[in-house]
């Protein structure tokens, strides 16, 4: 449960978190600016995914609903902003409409699947992503078809980098605030036991609906920035497999934890982009790693680290151990 906000300990923690996230944004900017080539692309993807996954961390990490629709919101932001920009609208308005339109899609998904839970919710959202990807692939006039479409430059490169770095800190900050609010408590209660949550008065359907819509906004904004940086977007970047990898990233990082999106993104992107094990092999290795983490540290990498730090240290025994000489005597 959260640290109460109106205590000295609470304020100290909030201030430390704000300072840490500001520092993280600065480091992200320096890395985005300084690292070039393939590794630069990896840094970009880690930052973009971390922003997008912060939304998924709300619905899946805190709320316990395994959403495979998140990659569609990510793609929705990218495609909508690119399409509107192509129509000559100002970039700020394009971004706003792209995020708003995607939130509307999030609302529809939430309403359609409001009566499903667990694996049924996952299957439902997986089909949403499959259908979205089919539309992106086949509506060639608008989306450019399977080869994708170019994205006009709305923000300058430096503005995009600043926005990416700032969005990382701000997204995580927003998650921190939400997770420590009553809304965050309600989501945790739903994850623990949704029926019980209802019977202590939590309007679970409404809470999950809001979580889905808010979550889609993070995904869409990340999509807008991704499209701006990348310059080209294609349906292959927003497939069901990518959606599943996003879910894996949250699980690996430690669902519901503040830095889970960043840690999860770093591991998943690192495996798929940096370790060249051949087509598909890195994903198999990633799958094995996911199984191992799930079995050995069910709360993810960050959960495992927290558990290690909280493990009581062995203390010196009060009674001295028997002397070896005595042991020998007994043995003889």
């Amino acid at each position: 449960m959260r640290v109460p906000a109106w205590t000295a300990a609470g304020w100290t923690r909030h201030a430390a978190t704000a300072a840490g996230l500001t520092a993280l944004s600065v480091v992200a900017y320096l890395l985005l600016k300084g690292v070039q080539g393939d590794r630069g692309q990896v840094v970009l993807l880690v930052v973009v995914w971390a922003i997008a996954l912060t939304g998924l961390n709300l619905i899946t990490g805190l709320g316990g609903y395994p959403s495979l629709a998140h990659v569609s919101f990510f793609g929705g932001g990218a495609y909508l902003s690119a399409y509107l920009l192509g129509k000559g609208l100002p970039m700020a308005l394009c971004a706003l409409l792209a995020v708003g339109g995607t939130m509307l899609a999030g609302l529809v998904v939430a309403l359609v699947f409001s009566r499903t839970r667990g694996q049924y919710f996952a299957i439902g959202t997986m089909f949403f992503t499959a259908v979205t990807n089919l539309v992106l692939t086949n509506a060639a006039d608008v989306t450019g078809g399977p080869n994708g479409r170019p994205v006009d430059l709305g923000f300058s490169l430096d503005t995009t980098l600043v926005l990416l770095a700032a969005s990382l800190g701000l997204s995580l900050g927003a998650f921190y605030a939400l997770s420590r609010s009553r809304f965050g408590d309600r989501l945790r209660a739903i994850r623990e036991d949704e029926d019980l949550a209802q019977h202590v008065g939590v309007p679970t359907a409404r809470v999950m609906l809001i979580a889905m819509v808010v979550s889609s906004a993070f995904g869409a904004w990340a999509g807008v920035l991704f499209a701006q940086y990348n310059g080209v977007i294609a349906p292959s970047q927003f497939t069901f497999v990518q959606g599943f990898l996003m879910l894996v990233a949250i699980g690996l990082g430690g669902g519901g934890r503040l830095l889970a999106p960043l840690v999860g993104s770093a591991v998943v992107i690192g495996f798929t982009q940096l370790i060249k094990l051949g087509p598909g092999v890195s994903q198999i290795v990633l799958g094995v790693l996911f199984i191992l983490v799930t079995l050995l540290v069910p709360n993810g990498i960050l959960g495992g680290i927290t558990a290690l730090r909280r493990r009581p240290r062995p203390t010196a025994p009060d009674v001295p151990a028997p002397a070896p000489a005595r042991a020998k005597e007994v043995a003889s």
């Binding site: 449960m1 408590d185 209660a189 036991d193 029926d195 019980l196 209802q198 019977h199 202590v200 008065g201």
Partner: protein, 237 residues
């Protein structure tokens, strides 16, 4: 004076099966109603209708003259009807105090009669508020479920087999705790249980269900002497 809780001809059908078939009763503040009957007689389904878990097919549940049925579980809680479950259900990784805080926060508009410490005192959970619910003993967890329901400041408390798994001493302590809740907080309590040694001394009135309908209703003494109830359920108990 009108009753606090009025259950009027409630029916709950699943296809052709009437799990609850025209049940009616009233309950006053501070009263304890025992609900007994064989397995499958509709007790838990009736509790579900009262708690808003299930919508009734017909009939109404009114609390203080206002319709409280068919509006969903969270609205029933906000109206003043709280429940516990047959199996232990708690937010296992949370402390009991955190769980109570969440429940209290959901009914902000309605002042809860008892503080966390009052609830712990009433139920004999002193010293356990700051422990994770999952780490409590089985009997303490059953009491913690009641504590969680009480934190919503209910006017009607529905207990579904609260004494299951308890030994004689624990169920006697539970009966005393439930009586304290009814007497001190003025909460009307509906208790479903198969343990007659626990239920009969606790209940002011008993309703016997069979095949979804009311078989008999009366004081525990009247029920014990009812031939139809003895034949269909109590036997020599």
């Amino acid at each position: 004076m009108t009753a606090l809780l009025t259950v009027d001809n409630v029916v709950k059908r699943y296809g052709g099966l009437a799990a609850v078939d025209g049940v009616s009763f009233t309950l006053d503040a501070g009263g304890v109603l025992g609900l007994i009957g064989p397995n499958g007689s509709g007790k838990t389904t009736l509790l579900g209708v009262l708690a808003g878990t299930h919508d009734p097919t017909a009939g109404t549940v009114t609390l203080d003259g206002r319709v409280a049925s068919g509006r969903g579980a969270h609205r029933a809680v906000r109206a003043g009807i709280a429940r516990t479950f047959q199996t232990t259900r708690l937010f296992g990784t949370w402390t009991l105090r955190d769980s109570l805080r969440l429940a209290r926060g959901e009914v902000k508009g309605r002042t809860s009669a008892a503080s966390d410490d009052d609830i712990a005192d009433l139920l004999g959970l002193d010293g356990l508020l700051d422990r994770p619910c999952g780490a409590l003993t089985s009997a303490a967890q059953r009491l913690a479920m009641i504590a969680l329901a009480l934190a919503t400041g209910p006017r009607v408390l529905l207990l579904d087999e609260p004494a299951v798994g308890m030994d004689t001493g624990e169920s006697a302590a539970l009966a005393a705790a439930v009586r304290r809740v009814a007497d001190r907080l003025g909460v009307a309590v509906v208790v479903v249980d198969h343990n007659m040694h626990f239920l009969m001394p606790l209940a002011d009135r008993v309703l016997v269900m069979a095949a979804g309908a009311v078989l008999a209703a009366g004081t525990p003494e009247e029920i014990r002497a009812d031939e139809a109830v003895i034949a269909s359920y109590l036997g020599g108990a």
